[in-house]
């Protein structure tokens, strides 16, 4: 399939770049979406964030330094869009993980009479994931981004500093404070 030609709103971009950029979208969409989801806490906002990030990346593709990793550049753009949105609306993104958890007096055996351990593990993982996301949502944006980039995306402090435009010392502090806040939020929800 031949690559689509994107609009040339940036005059520094050649037609050939459309193909390259199309490849980059395919390569980075998953990673970018996961980070967007961890930041925003819901699928709709993650979808919007990712779309906006790729549109902005394309508009500035002419100034992108091809020697540097595209993923880091995308994370940086997405993080900036997220911060802009947080500042503009001055509210936290709402959480859409609102599937009700099992009642406290209900056991997993009652829910899963078959006794197959795999679905139980799956449900436990889902519960754990919801717990993590709810705790993340309670973190202030800078801590949330630092913790997500370090522990979810597995990036180094140097790369996180580049993405968040902050020195490594600040990043170290944000990651540590973020983890302490996460621990507190998790303990409050799951004593």
């Amino acid at each position: 399939m031949s690559p689509r030609t994107f609009r040339d709103s940036n005059r520094n971009i050649s037609g050939e770049d459309s193909g390259d950029f199309s490849e980059l979208i395919r390569r980075c969409a998953e990673q970018t979406y996961n980070f967007a989801y961890r930041l925003s806490g819901n699928e709709q906002d993650a979808w919007d964030l990712v779309q906006e990030a790729f549109v902005r990346a394309w508009e500035h593709f002419g100034s992108y330094d091809r020697k540097r990793p595209f993923e880091t550049w995308m994370y940086k753009i997405l993080h900036n869009i997220y911060l802009d949105a947080v500042r503009r609306h001055a509210h936290r993104y709402s959480v859409s993980l609102d599937a009700p958890p099992p009642k406290e007096d209900t056991t997993w055996d009652e829910l899963l009479p078959g006794g197959d351990p795999e679905p139980v593990r799956g449900m436990l993982r889902k519960e754990e994931d919801e717990l993590v996301q709810k705790a993340l949502n309670e973190l202030p944006p800078h801590y949330r981004a630092a913790v997500a980039l370090c522990d979810v995306e597995g990036l180094s402090y140097e790369k996180i500093g580049e993405i968040m435009s902050a020195p490594v010392g600040t990043i170290r502090s944000r990651i540590h404070q973020g983890r302490l806040l996460m621990r507190k939020a998790i303990s409050a929800r799951n004593p």
């Binding site: 689509r4 030609t5 994107f6 609009r7 709103s9 950029f21 199309s22 979208i25 395919r26 969409a29 998953e30 970018t32 979406y33 996961n34 989801y37 961890r38 699928e43 993650a46 979808w47 990712v50 779309q51 790729f54 549109v55 394309w58 993982r125 754990e128 994931d129 717990l131 993590v132 996301q133 913790v147 997500a148 370090c150 522990d151 979810v152 597995g154 180094s156 402090y157 490594v168 170290r172 502090s173 990651i175 540590h176 983890r179 996460m182 621990r183 998790i186």
Partner: protein, 155 residues
Amino acid sequence: MNIHENNELLSAFLDQALSAEESAAIQGHLTACASCREELASLGQTKSLLQRAPRRAAPPKLIAAIEERLSRPSWLDMLRSFIPETRILVPAGALAAAILALWLRSALQQPIPLEPLLAAHSRYTAEALVPASELVASNYSAQLNACYGDPKNQE
């Protein structure tokens, strides 16, 4: 290095983000400090919970939606389509600027009549030196008119 005062070092140790000397110092401290060992284990649990969190798969239509949005002309492109091409716009602008410059030049070259202005200036200066009551009593305005001319006729 006091870890109890700067416990960010424990997180950095956990992430292997310290220098070899710093790591060795932390390691040495941990063998002797049970509370720091506990804190490190607790931070490790939090980190591992985040690492275990399943990755969210991008919705199947996301890539197509991005590409569709990038192919759609932006409002800027649509605006551009209403504006004539640069090759027409630039000469037209230059011609308009030249006409404006010529008009300004001819307007500035017309002579400004100085005499009536100087006469009015002298008249108002002379009036200012006479008290208002005497100006009326002596019919000073008529004398000034005789000397400098009536201002109504000067305009």
